[in-house]
């Protein structure tokens, strides 16, 4: 192509479509979270009632006839909430931390926290 690309910004190697995927994921997960968290909030506060919430209610829900549904629901809340939230933290790190070393360090930390929290949460949900 006969154009002068002297001033063209060269795409970063390895950047690929990760940022595109990340952006799209935030839209979808945000929408799902808004619906699922609202439903959860209404269920807990109005259907069950704030004064009736205790350990037995939650335990009964997970072990009762709808146990699989509630465990799946809670697992998705955990996965979506953690990945959406931690990706948001990654955005903040990318925006405000300029030193490459610190960036890698804090992003690794964020990834580690994400992994540990998801594993711990999933462990409780599956083995309860």
């Amino acid at each position: 192509m006969a154009i002068n690309t002297k001033y063209a910004r060269t795409p970063r190697p390895g950047g690929g479509s990760f940022e595109l995927f990340s952006w799209f994921f935030m839209r979808i997960s945000g929408l799902l979270l808004a619906l699922m968290v609202s439903a959860h909030l209404i269920w807990m506060h109005y259907v069950i009632g704030l004064s009736n919430i205790n350990f037995d209610v939650i335990a009964g829900r997970w072990t009762g006839p709808n146990g699989t549904f509630w465990r799946t629901y809670d697992l998705f809340l955990l996965l979506l909430g953690m990945t959406h939230g931690m990706n948001g933290v990654r955005f903040v790190v990318e925006d405000y931390i300029h030193s490459p070393g610190w960036r890698v360090f804090i992003k690794t930390l964020v990834g580690l926290i994400l992994f540990i929290m998801v594993v711990m949460g999933a462990y409780v949900i599956f083995t309860f």
Binding site: M1, I3, Y7, R9, P11, G15, E19, L20, W23, D95
Partner: protein, 232 residues
């Protein structure tokens, strides 16, 4: 009416930290902030430095932060903003002197999106015709005057000067959605860089700042969507 202008000053030859200086002038309510600055420079303090060229909101030279918002000094009347006016240089670009900033980082980002017509077809003997609907598709972004009000109001750009910035994306949008242009893929590749459109957090400061009332955030969103539809 009597107007007090509080201006942020910096002369890099004598001081390294910006300071505030207040001027009181007599002005008509229909005078513009630019008129006030010219009056100060002419009658009170010839060292006050600022850019202006056409003075009618077309050239985009006199972008500055007026009462905390990025505006063109030639488009803001005293009657609309009152008699206590604060004027600062636009933020995120190095200050050369007083209200004059170095526009080169901004222009570098502008050049990086290939802001020119790309079409390798044989040159036709007449105009490249375009339907009214095709022209309307990118009409909004043709209004940009490169004043930098949007880019220097963007917190993402303040935080990271490597971000290509809203103005450059608006300029890319103008060609990406032009049916006669063939450089869409190249521009989308360039803007898919992590420092490209993905640095935009839809804060909408750019849309608020634009003196040409371009829907900047919407244009950026359309570029993001074009990238998504290209992949799926």
């Amino acid at each position: 009416m009597q107007v007090t202008l509080k201006v942020q000053r910096l002369n890099p030859e004598t001081n390294s930290i910006p300071y505030w200086q207040e001027y009181t002038i007599e002005a008509e309510p229909t005078d513009r902030v630019l008129d006030g600055l010219i009056k100060i420079k002419g009658e009170q303090d010839g060292t006050l430095t600022f850019r202006s060229s056409c003075a009618h909101g077309i050239c985009g030279s006199d972008a500055m932060r007026i009462n905390g918002q990025n505006r063109l000094a030639c488009k803001v009347l005293f009657k609309d903003i009152g008699s206590n006016v604060t004027v600062e240089p636009i933020t995120g670009l190095p200050v050369v002197k007083d209200l004059v900033v170095d526009m080169e980082p901004f222009m570098e980002h502008y050049r990086s999106v290939l802001p020119f017509f790309i079409n390798d077809d044989p040159i036709p003997t007449q105009e490249r015709l375009q339907s009214q609907a095709d022209r309307a598709r990118f009409d909004d972004t043709t209004k940009c005057i490169l004043c930098a009000c949007c880019t220097t109001s963007c917190p993402s750009f303040w935080a990271n000067g490597e971000y290509v910035g809203p103005a450059a994306i608006v300029q890319a949008h103008r060609f990406i959605f032009d049916s006669r242009d063939q450089g869409t893929d190249q521009r989308l590749d360039i803007l898919s860089d992590p420092e490209g459109v993905w640095r935009c957090r839809t804060i909408f400061n750019c849309t608020n700042a634009c003196p040409r009332e371009i829907e900047v955030t919407k244009a950026i969103g359309e570029v993001k969507k074009a990238m998504l539809y290209r992949k799926i």
